[in-house]
């Protein structure tokens, strides 16, 4: 059996709310293999985003552990976790979080710039990624000139910029209409088809159905 890209062992996340502990996740155990497409569904407030943040190393469990590419996240330094996110992970957000003053191609280039990818290689990859998400003609447009679906496709291209092994998508269709959401779902399916493990949090059952495996989260527990 291959090593999992991300694994949670009895991971829990408690928050302090007005001095009282609130459990967002309770003892979640989960393993995502390389190249797998997993959808996590559940009602609002069930802990889906928290789970995704733990998997992406942007948050740490209060108990249990999360192993990201074999490393226990709470034992890694902030710099080491940042490096893992930069080079091995891609994030797609519900609200896209494209930088509004940058063009589509500049947004895609950002992670490559940070990773020190040489200019010629950057130019080649950004062209490939724009073609991959079908937005070559929009490369010089800023987010304000793009539709919601186009912005999300650019965000997917940005997430793929440094050829990650794992892509984490937090409600990627949450801001989109049904048809555009389906397009994004199919795009993530293609990403998975290219060998990238995809973990997608969604409350859209149709989109979740595109995944290999669907997990349901309720009150911070996988059911």
């Amino acid at each position: 059996m291959s090593a999992p890209v991300v694994e949670l062992r009895d991971a829990a996340r408690l928050y302090q709310l007005d001095g009282a502990p609130v459990a967002a996740l309770r003892g979640v155990t989960l393993r995502v293999e390389a190249g797998e497409f997993v959808a996590i569904v559940g009602p609002s407030g069930s802990g889906k985003s928290t789970l995704l943040h733990l998997m992406g190393g942007v948050d740490l469990p209060t108990s249990g552990e999360v192993r990201l590419f074999g490393d226990v996240t709470h034992r890694l330094s902030d710099a080491a976790l940042t490096a893992v996110r930069l080079r091995r992970l891609g994030f797609v957000f519900q609200r896209f979080f494209l930088l509004p003053m940058l063009t589509a191609e500049e947004n895609i280039i950002l992670p490559m710039l940070e990773a020190g990818v040489p200019p010629a290689e950057r130019a080649r990859r950004v062209s490939e990624l724009l073609e991959y998400v079908g937005l070559t003609h929009r490369r010089r447009h800023v987010p304000g000139q793009l539709s919601g679906g186009e912005m999300q496709r650019i965000a997917v291209a940005r997430a793929l910029a440094n050829a990650p092994s794992l892509l984490l998508a937090d409600e990627p269709t949450g801001e989109l209409d049904q048809q555009t959401g389906q397009e994004i779902g199919r795009l993530l399916q293609r990403v998975h088809g290219a060998g990238v493990a995809v973990v997608m949090v969604t409350h859209n059952a149709d989109i979740a159905a595109l995944a290999d495996r669907m997990l349901v989260l309720r009150d911070g527990r996988l059911t």
Binding site: V58, D59, A79, R85, F93, F97, L99, M101, L110, L113
Partner: protein, 391 residues
């Protein structure tokens, strides 16, 4: 990449950036002016003294170095002995007093210098000559009493307060019209050979107000000062450095004034940059959290915000220097109009040190102004911020 993002971020809110740059430019202009003012008069005075080349001045002990009230007896003999000292190129007595000069258009009091022919550079005749071997009248006085070169004037040592009649009077021919170093605004000045002035005043014993000394190239003025002090306990000697220290002590209030205004201008720049960047960071917490999530390190996010502050300073600095230089002219003119200020002197003197000080202070202030917003950006929790942005 951080540089690229910083520039893009500042362009993104262009009108806000323009306003903060304008504000920092104005604060920076004030800062530059205060840098020019702090020590400007000293630099100007030092430069004027340096140009004349007389680097030691000898006065009667207890009198201020620039005072001409007390008379130094036997000045000619002392000057000869100083001139014979190794390292001294020239030592010459100068007598300064007030006389009355009467021409066709009236009578006027005039500051008067008695100079020996070897003392050069203190006056500049219209012909270009800079020595005194006859009566030289400055332009202000020449206009006032209606004389020009070749005319004869009556020069009196005093006017009787009872009768209004002049005392000892001598007719003298105006040899030249000239400009005098250190003339005050509207000051009326004449110069004549030292012996003529001593005779006119009826002074015996070759007294003078002070002795000017020019050292040989490479000679140490301070060692001459020490030697004079040791040789003549009744005399004080001042080098240019010593004179400037005196000026510095007398003009310390300018330094305090400039320090206070420098502090205010730095505070204004700091608050402007800090406020605008704090607002800017607050507006893009979600973006910053997303940048952190996609792989920008905490230190790079901090650097990004600090750089934005530094860019505001860097863009403002050249404009601040230009605006400050322009503003300094009318400010200098206002201060130079103060009575008792020699017209050759300036209060606002641009110098490489003033420019460097302004550039450094603005850069540091810009970066410090960005420190608080950078701290906010650096410590934000990625997960909590992303959560909040979606709520």
């Amino acid at each position: 990449m951080v540089w690229f993002l910083a520039r893009k971020n500042l362009r993104r809110a262009a009108s806000r950036t323009i306003l903060v740059v304008a504000g920092v430019t104005v604060a920076g202009a004030l800062l530059f002016d205060m840098s020019m003012l702090g020590g400007g008069l000293e630099r100007s005075f030092g430069s004027a003294l340096g140009r004349l080349g007389y680097d030691v001045r000898v006065v009667l002990k207890g009198t201020l170095p620039l005072s001409t009230d007390a008379l130094l007896p036997g000045a000619q003999t002392i000057a000869r002995r100083i001139a014979a000292h190794p390292g001294v190129g020239l030592a010459s007595p100068v007598l300064a007093t007030n006389l009355y000069v009467e021409g066709p258009a009236g009578r006027s009091a005039a500051v008067t210098f008695g100079l020996r022919p070897e003392v050069r550079g203190i006056i500049r005749q219209e012909s270009g000559r800079d020595t005194v071997d006859g009566l030289v009248v400055n332009r202000e006085l020449a206009q006032r009493i209606g004389v020009s070169t070749g005319d004869t004037v009556q020069v009196s040592s005093r006017i009787s307060p009872q009768t209004g009649r002049p005392g000892r009077t001598t007719a003298m021919r105006v040899q030249a019209i000239g400009e005098f170093a250190f003339d005050l605004k509207a000051q009326r000045t004449i110069a004549m050979p030292l012996g003529d002035l001593q005779d006119l005043l009826g002074l015996d014993g070759e007294p003078a107000s002070f002795i000017v000394v020019k050292t040989e190239p490479g000679a140490d003025a301070e060692s001459i000062v020490r030697w004079v002090a040791a040789e003549w306990p009744t005399l004080d000697a001042f080098s240019i450095t010593g004179l400037l220290e005196q000026v510095h002590r007398q003009l310390r209030y300018f330094e305090h004034f400039s320090t206070i205004l420098t502090g205010i201008s730095l505070l204004v720049a700091f608050l402007l940059i800090g406020t605008v960047l704090t607002l800017s960071v607050g507006e893009r917490l979600g973006e910053l959290a997303a940048l952190r999530a996609v792989g920008l390190s905490r230190s790079r996010v901090v650097l990004l915000v600090l750089l934005e502050g530094a860019v505001v300073s860097a863009v403002s600095t050249p404009m601040a220097l230009a605006v400050g230089a322009v503003i300094s002219h009318p400010l200098d003119a206002i201060l130079r109009a103060t009575p008792g200020i020699p017209q050759d002197l300036h209060f606002f003197v641009a110098s490489p040190a003033a420019v460097i000080r302004t550039v450094l202070l603005l850069t540091v202030t810009g970066t410090l102004g960005a420190a608080h917003p950078a701290w906010i950006a650096g410590r934000l929790s990625i997960a909590a911020t992303l959560h909040q942005e979606v709520q």
